[in-house]
Amino acid sequence: MTKPIKKSIKSAIALSAVAVLGLAGCAESSSEPLVIGSQAYYSNEIVAEVYAQVLEDAGYSVDRQFALGQRDVYVPALLAGEIDIFPEYTGNLLQYFDPEATATAEEDVYQALQAALPAGLTALALSGASDQDSYNVTSDFAMKNSLTSIGDLAGVTGIRLGGAPELAERPYGPTGLLSSYGVTVEFEATGDTTVESLVAGLIDMANVYSADPRIQQLGLVTLTDPQGLFLSSNLVPIASDAVNQEARDLISAVSSAMTAADLVALNVRSVDEQLSSAVIARDWLLSKGLID
């Protein structure tokens, strides 16, 4: 009975020795691949895939570590140097590093983020594409009350605002609506059924992420926010010190090229056509002439 066990232990030792030698060999022969991470959010993964492909096209080797979950999980990995590049959102990341931050406008948030980032991490070029909280109404409701901006709601009474339970306490929630725009709303916690509730008429206004494909698909009207109630949250690549200047320039170029409409279109392709992020990313890069 003991013999085969001994044998397997021996072979395990031999195997691990081979593995160690093999790993050592790898480290010598080629430079470390760049590790690209992404959140467990399909839209974020597509953007990460765009970064990966543009780097691969330039001859870099890339290690994809996608669907890493929440900031609490992956930011420590970024700081530890386990991840080199990560597509992020300015406002949300700023709030993570500096919960007291007050900037809401696009440029201000970007600058505040650069200041708030710990040593070893850099925010590359800001993208025009954003994925942030926004207030949306149905086109019928917008037409009936002639709405384009959140402020236009000031005269309308009995507005029911729907969103996740935490919206009730957020600075851009009912309190912010009243102080910034003089709009009074009644809050309804609609949770994950917010968009459905808006369409069904259970609420009048819904908090939806601005790059959500359903805004386009259902013809919802996103109300403009001239007072900067919402924290801007534009796409921005975060790079560690392990990323060299050439690679940074490549990713910055991609980031600058991505417009708000582009990001929505990428999301729509993922939701509607159920394509893989690799295909969506490749098609977009080709259409922009960023790879060939």
């Binding site: 339970p165 809050f187 949770g191 994950d192 509730s197």
Partner: protein, 226 residues
């Protein structure tokens, strides 16, 4: 970062108990959803369980339902029903999902209660000339009452803890404070709501266990008095 004192402060702050999403209102919503679901489940499952136990037919159904229930992802069932029926009917959809969760234990309790009655007693009732309905009313139900209460006890715990998910589909209930507290990193609210949920679960479970014990005692006493 977070202390018992903060939790106590949060729970004793009157502001947290009032309003649309105050604890008082959420508590009532939570309890209502739970009791309505249990009542409907009882109305459906007790007659079926008793009928199966009495007739001895369809016993495989009881086993199938109670084993299948272990595999049902309750959260998925709730979401699927809300999406299928439409958000306008979310209350109905959630109650339906909760009834689905509550039926198996109540059904198993009713069936097992009838099944555990000694055959001599059941045959004795029949030999006295009782009709099937009389057998159920005067022998079956009184003797299986404790087992049915045991089924309700399990169902109550499962339903009361599943209702915590209701705010995800736009309904109220004490889960609101848990979900909101988690998102806002308000640990006093999160823990405070959780404490109320736990108290509600334990109190209900204890009450049902007490009822079960009482019914049990009545059963043994009636044997002695015979």
């Amino acid at each position: 970062m977070f202390s018992i004192g903060e939790l106590f402060d949060w729970l004793t702050d009157a502001e947290n108990w009032t309003g649309r999403y105050g604890l008082a209102n959420l508590f009532v919503e939570h309890l209502t959803l739970t009791l309505v679901s249990l009542a409907i489940a009882g109305l459906l499952a007790i007659p079926i369980g008793v009928a199966i136990g009495q007739s001895g037919r369809g016993e495989t159904l009881v086993i199938a339902i109670s084993s299948a229930s272990r595999a049902i992802p309750t959260m998925g069932l709730m979401f699927a029903l809300v999406m299928f029926m439409g958000v306008e009917f979310r209350q109905f959809a959630v109650v339906l999902a909760l009834v689905g969760i509550a039926i198996p234990p109540v059904l198993a309790g009713a069936y097992a209660g009838i099944k555990s009655i000694p055959i001599v007693i059941r045959e004795g009732a029949r030999a006295q000339g009782m009709t099937t309905l009389q057998q159920i009313r005067h022998v079956g139900l009184p003797l299986s009452a404790s087992s049915i209460a045991g089924g309700f006890k399990i169902a109550y715990l499962q339903v009361v803890s599943t209702v915590v998910l209701a705010p995800l589909v736009g309904l109220g209930g004490l889960g609101f404070g848990v979900i909101q507290g988690l998102a806002l990193r308000d640990f006093a609210q999160l823990t405070g709501s959780a404490v109320v949920i736990v108290l509600l679960s334990i109190t209900g479970e204890r009450l049902l266990a007490k009822a079960q014990g009482k019914l049990d005692r009545r059963l043994t006493q009636s044997k002695i008095n015979r």
